[in-house]
């Protein structure tokens, strides 16, 4: 089968399917054909289709569970004019929980709560599981055997991702001890006043104007320190 015909056939199959199709699934769909394409032929055709359709209105895109045809997200603003219905909105609590599961999986509900500083409602976990974005991976071997949660391929598909590696990178966490604590410390305290100070005095000291300067220095020093 020539490569143009194979590409046309693959595009038709992906366009007609109601779920992303993997290379293996596509391969199986050609089973029994006189000129059955190999998996490498299929992979090559898919690569070309993805590249050719990148700027088109309907593009072939690779996501976690395979290749799908989708409306180019760049045109979302125009396309939503077609629809009456507003897209579903998700609460920040739900998205925070989902982000924690995505970046920290496998993770227990208790661990999520520890980081968020508030309890996670069962409804959120249930919604995430019903959407098939999150599933139980197992149970942690601690008292109570809490469930360990992780994300699914459907989660990646929904957010247009091929793998977890494509998630935006987490911002860096700065190391406290690299910031020369003594400096910041010493002026958080009434200088040269070993006697217990009362609240009012402490507050004054903390708000001292030169504190900013001091901590500015601390940051500078820290910047040089790792060298």
């Amino acid at each position: 089968m020539d490569s143009d015909r194979l590409k046309s056939l693959i595009e038709a199959l992906i366009g007609a399917a109601d779920r992303p199709l993997s290379v293996n699934q596509l391969f199986d769909l050609f089973a029994g054909d006189l000129e059955q394409p190999g998996k490498d032929d299929i992979r090559k055709a898919l690569q070309e289709l993805v590249a050719e359709t990148a700027d088109r209105g309907m593009q072939i895109k690779q996501v976690a569970s395979g290749f799908r045809l989708q409306v180019n997200p760049e045109h979302a603003a125009h396309v939503t004019r077609l629809f009456q219905q507003k897209p579903p909105r998700y609460s920040r609590a739900l998205l925070e929980t989902l982000a924690l599961i995505a970046y920290r999986q496998p993770i227990t509900r208790g661990e999520i709560e520890a980081i968020r500083g508030v309890s996670v409602s069962s409804n959120i976990i249930k919604t995430l599981q019903e959407r098939e974005w999150v599933r139980t991976l197992g149970h942690k071997d601690v008292p109570g055997k809490p469930s360990l949660y992780g994300t699914t391929a459907q989660f990646l598909d929904y957010f247009n991702l091929k793998s977890l590696n494509e998630l935006p990178t987490l911002s860096e966490i700065k190391d406290l001890d690299r910031f020369h604590p003594e400096l910041a410390f010493s002026d958080d305290r009434p200088p040269e006043d070993p006697a217990p100070a009362d609240d009012a005095r402490a507050e004054e000291a903390l708000d001292a104007p030169d504190r900013r300067e001091a901590s500015g220095q601390a940051v500078d020093t820290a910047g040089e320190e790792p060298a």
Binding site: A76, P168, L206
Partner: protein
């Protein structure tokens, strides 16, 4: 001196608003805020860490260098506001208030010389704030990704006419046998339905006899016995016919003693 410090601290805060060109950093006592609006404002926080982060960011402060006393005071003001509005205050907010008070009191105590920074009473709080901030950012990033239903839509393509056939279900013999085991086990729970199982060869032969009768009708008794099947075959046929008679499925007929015996289906 005290006033001076207070002033400096206030200046470092971001103003709430500009009134006649003057930055306003403290909510005037007489300013009326509709409770509903305040409620919305307070409910915008995802928890105590989120509220603390807001207080820190509002003053352009670095998390690594939190002025605990200031933040604690402001935090407590929000807690009081929530309590005055009789908002249902999540327990986590009060736990954080206690933690802040503890840190503040520890900051006031003299520290032995040479103590390392891990003993900074703020260390744990700073770690938690940073971690929460990290995931707050990650949540925003996640929310910004193009996603189905909002930015990405599936094609609504017309399909050519298709002829799809539905294949027959497959059954494994294992499923069949397990189904049999279960139904028998279940039936045995009821004493009245004790199931006696004849050897299968007899049941099978019963079916074959009935089949033959259905096809041929009135059949001579002899026809059901085939010498080539051996003694076992003859016994099985005989048992099958007896069982069929017992269950009123067939009738045996003999016109006179020593005359040929005939078999006929009873209901026919």
């Amino acid at each position: 001196m005290s006033d001076l410090f207070q002033q400096a601290a206030n200046q470092s805060e971001m103003p709430f608003a500009l009134v006649e060109g003057e930055p306003l950093t403290v909510i005037p006592q007489d300013l009326y805020i509709p409770p509903d609006a305040l409620l919305v404002f307070l409910e915008a926080f995802e928890g105590p860490l989120d509220l603390l982060l807001y207080l820190i960011k509002r003053q352009n402060l670095d998390i690594l260098d939190i002025p605990v006393a200031v933040i604690t005071r402001q935090y407590m003001e929000y807690i009081h506001m929530m309590q005055e509005l009789e908002l249902e205050l999540a327990a986590e907010y009060l736990v954080m208030a206690a933690m802040l008070a503890e840190i503040k009191s520890r900051m006031l105590l003299p520290r032995p010389v040479g103590e390392d920074d891990e003993d900074d009473p703020r260390a744990e709080l700073i770690r938690r704030l940073q971690e929460y901030e990290q995931f707050k950012q990650a949540t925003e990033d996640l929310d910004a990704l193009p996603r189905m239903e909002r930015d990405i839509f599936p094609p609504q393509a017309e399909l050519p006419p298709l002829e799809v056939e539905i294949p027959q279900p497959e059954v494994s013999i294992r499923d069949l046998l397990l189904a049999f085991r279960d139904v028998v086990n279940r039936a045995e729970q009821f004493a009245s339905h004790h199931i006696e199982l004849e050897p299968l060869s007899v049941r099978e032969r019963m079916s074959l006899v009935l089949q033959q009768l259905k096809r041929d009708g009135y059949t001579e008794f002899q026809a059901f016995f085939k010498p080539e099947e051996g003694r076992m075959g003859v016994v099985v046929s005989f048992l099958a016919i007896l069982e069929l008679v017992k269950e009123s499925m067939i009738e045996l007929m003999q016109n006179e003693p020593y005359a040929p015996i005939y078999v006929k289906p009873k209901a026919a």
